[in-house]
Symmetry: C2
């Protein structure tokens, strides 16, 4: 098998060194980090293959299918759901396919506002390459610094500015995917009634149907003006209602992010200093008992355009009696918005269990879902005298509903750090999946290994059968990303 | 079999009379109308089944699967691509399942702005039911007067106000579908990263995977203000560029419809009278050599809101030097916008071949595609001294591209009316499918029988295999809507 891979990519690009393999073994979830710190088992691949282009990817995929070797596509390695764990499934060996050499902007169509990017382009590099043509993708998830274009498509990513720029699936106009049955290209028009939209079957397929090698994305003019600012609303219910009204009036800011009182309190505590103390006093004076921080951000072609859009937003927001707390708060959030993962590493060093999880639901269920997940996390993690902090925010709002993003911080259980979190996560997932379910098992983190057991509750046994049928059709040997998406 | 069906729906709801069966035999394409006038063969079903609710539909579907009887779901019967032809495929008998009794608004969630509608609700009735709650769907395709909610979902419909309200697929939040393998329900949140979006696999499945029985749709506040008006731009190229700039600046009116010079000329000719003569003279005086009519329509909650949006649109439109021709032109278009199909019937009586077809592509290909389709139609239909009129408009614009809708009028070939149009249509489809392809084989008419041969060029052989695999999974006996979508 090694010979077969070397004949495709050259012997320099089949890596079998310990560090090379350890470096592509799992993602960035809390349990992944625990594993790297010695708790739990690491799924280490037998080799790492680094093809140069889509054609080499195609031949690697075919070689793996021929030899019955598992293949795990690997972009930025930022999965927090076990999406890039080098599991073997029923195969004897598994290789990781690192897409880092597929790092080109292939073409730009400035008239149609389309760009073709290779799957391995890291987000900041994509922005740099597009900026040279005057364009932006505007896709800024928290994983921005390391995540790739292919990963965004494979996982149905959503960025912090989704209200303005759309989810990644809204940007995908075409895909090129290497499957064991040959290359599959999709995308000939912005919209179509030529049967089901198969692009939306590829987006979110998490490397189980094929390896995405190129994505044709919709781009926008690079913004030349920007305004981020903070407001404080009194109470979660009023806050969520305000965001709902902005969404349903279709005057959302490009970034719209509402923290619940717990998260707001945490943000104030982390800021510290006399300015924050002054802010707390000011809010009390204004009669705000239960502060919820709302960050709004607009980006556009001119200050006038932003002023007009801001005016429309504030006209609706006004009813919720927001207390403006200034652009410094907004800018501070903007500058720190990719820092979460790094802060988590630092916190872990101090003996803390810190992790996030997320879901989404329709507006009428948002409060029920938030309470249910919160209760599940608090109940599970309150033990041996430990009390968790469970904070929540809405970062993606739609006309019909919103996402809920939870951050949990609790002193680490030194005896069973792995079990401490996996039990809490299971309790939260059960709360989401119960009763209907109450919401989706993932709004933007994807399924991977961790959420696969909860997928049937969401899409039905028939839905799982349909996905399995598509996989059998495209990957009859079952070599692609074993153990992900489907729990079978 | 008849007993089995009667035991589900009652003997009153299994219709076997000649007129009942003839009334559900095909749709409203030109060749369908020719068939009803005695040219070509009608595919008449053996029976018409009229279930009362989703449970009865489920049991009818299971009975057909058990007995190996073909089943054609039938809503408004407005398909123009053969989507409801009662074909048998490899089955000995075929029944039409008429959804007209599934005519309820099941529930409204005013907080989440969601409504659950049964599949058989006709569009005007859906609007009436929703209006009682202060809501609208805003979905107004030309088939509005007769088409159903289930049909909109099954065919990936797009309405004339798609720029404002979205395509029907954008409105679908959930579906309930009866399949031979059991009922399949989808939709728990406005957006999700829990694998591929399977709702987008159901939307556009044209009754081949199952019978859609209920659709959960996003609704909007009923508009209380409205403004429709006309502008004339000089030349197709400038006109299309203006629409592109509106789309890319994200200031499209809710309805945005640009006619090419041929269609504009036809509209002026049909209006006739001294007012039109005056308008033509006025345009010449203003230096407009090649008039292209642009209809813009806004709907909203107040005149002020519409004025603000109109201002933003006109600021961008201004660069194309539009000549305003007033709200009367806009209102006239609005009042006549569902009349096309009826006009066609009248024209047919006078010995005319009249039919439409449509496609969509990215902006940089719009001109090439329009020229190619136009040339194919003109070449094919110019024979025996006949000269066709081929008119075109853009009625759906996106940031990355637009739809192209062609209307063809030519004296009917009395000897071979069927061949005259089917040859022209084949030439147009070949022009769309060639070279890449140039565009989608259907932007909103769907695939049905007529476009099935062209689907592989668009989604690849693998795409067709994937659809076939999904069908095998959900409909192992292959009883659902034989001969549609897949040309196998």
């Amino acid at each position: 098998m090694r010979k077969a891979l070397e004949s495709v990519v050259g012997s320099d690009h089949v890596l079998i060194g310990r560090d090379d393999r350890l470096g592509r073994t799992g993602g960035l979830s809390y349990v992944d980090l625990l594993r790297h710190r010695g708790t739990g088992e690491l799924a280490v691949p037998d080799a790492v293959v680094v093809p140069a282009d889509p054609d080499e990817v195609q031949r690697v995929v075919e070689a793996c299918a021929e030899h019955g070797v598992g293949l795990v596509p690997f972009g930025g390695g930022t999965s927090v759901v076990g999406g890039v764990q080098a599991l073997r499934g029923d195969k004897e060996s598994v290789v990781v396919l690192d897409l880092c050499r597929l790092d080109e902007l292939v073409s730009v169509d400035p008239v149609s506002r389309l760009a073709v990017l290779r799957a391995g382009v890291v987000a900041p590099e994509a922005e740099r390459l597009l900026a040279a043509h005057g364009f932006t993708l505007g896709h800024v998830p928290q994983s921005f610094e390391r995540a790739t274009i292919g990963g965004f498509a494979a996982t149905r990513s959503a960025g912090q500015a989704s209200a303005g720029y759309g989810r990644f699936e809204d940007m995908v106009e075409g895909v090129r995917m290497a499957t064991p049955r040959g290359e599959w290209r999709l995308g000939v028009s912005p919209a179509s009634a030529a049967g089901p939209d198969l692009r939306q079957l590829v987006v979110g397929s998490e490397g189980t149907f094929g390896v995405i090698t190129e994505v044709t994305v919709r781009v926008r003019r690079l913004p030349t003006a920007r305004r981020y600012e903070g407001f404080v609303l009194d109470g979660w219910t009023r806050g969520a209602e305000a965001v709902r009204e902005l969404a349903q009036s279709r005057v959302l800011a490009d970034v719209t992010r509402l923290s619940d009182p717990h998260e707001t309190d945490m943000a104030f505590a982390l800021s510290g200093g006399w300015k924050t103390a002054l802010l707390r006093r000011y809010l009390r004076l204004r009669g705000v008992l239960d502060p919820c921080l709302l960050i709004l951000g607009w980006e556009g072609g001119s200050d006038a355009e932003i002023a007009a859009r801001r005016k429309a937003t504030l006209r609706v927001l006004h009813r919720a009696r927001p207390v403006p707390v200034g652009t410094a708060v907004g800018e501070k959030w903007r500058h720190g918005r990719f820092a979460g993962p790094r802060q988590r590493d630092a916190l872990m060093d101090t003996g803390v269990c810190v992790e996030t999880l997320e879901t989404a639901t329709y507006w009428s269920t948002v409060d029920t879902l938030r309470s249910a997940v919160r209760a599940a996390l608090v109940d599970s993690l309150t033990e041996h005298g430990r009390t968790p902090i469970v904070a929540c925010h809405i970062s993606h709002a739609y006309e019909t509903g919103a996402s809920l993003y939870f951050t949990t911080i609790v002193p680490r259980d030194a005896d069973d750090p792995f079990g401490q979190w996996t039990r809490a996560k299971a309790a939260a997932c059960a709360a989401i999946s119960a009763n209907g379910p109450l919401g989706t098992i993932s709004h933007h983190h994807a399924v991977g290994v961790d959420h696969a057991p909860y997928l049937p509750a969401e899409i039905g046994a028939l839905g799982v059968d349909v996905l399995a049928a598509v996989k059998r059709e495209l990957d009859p040997e079952g070599v692609l990303n074993p153990g992900k998406l489907l729990d079978r």
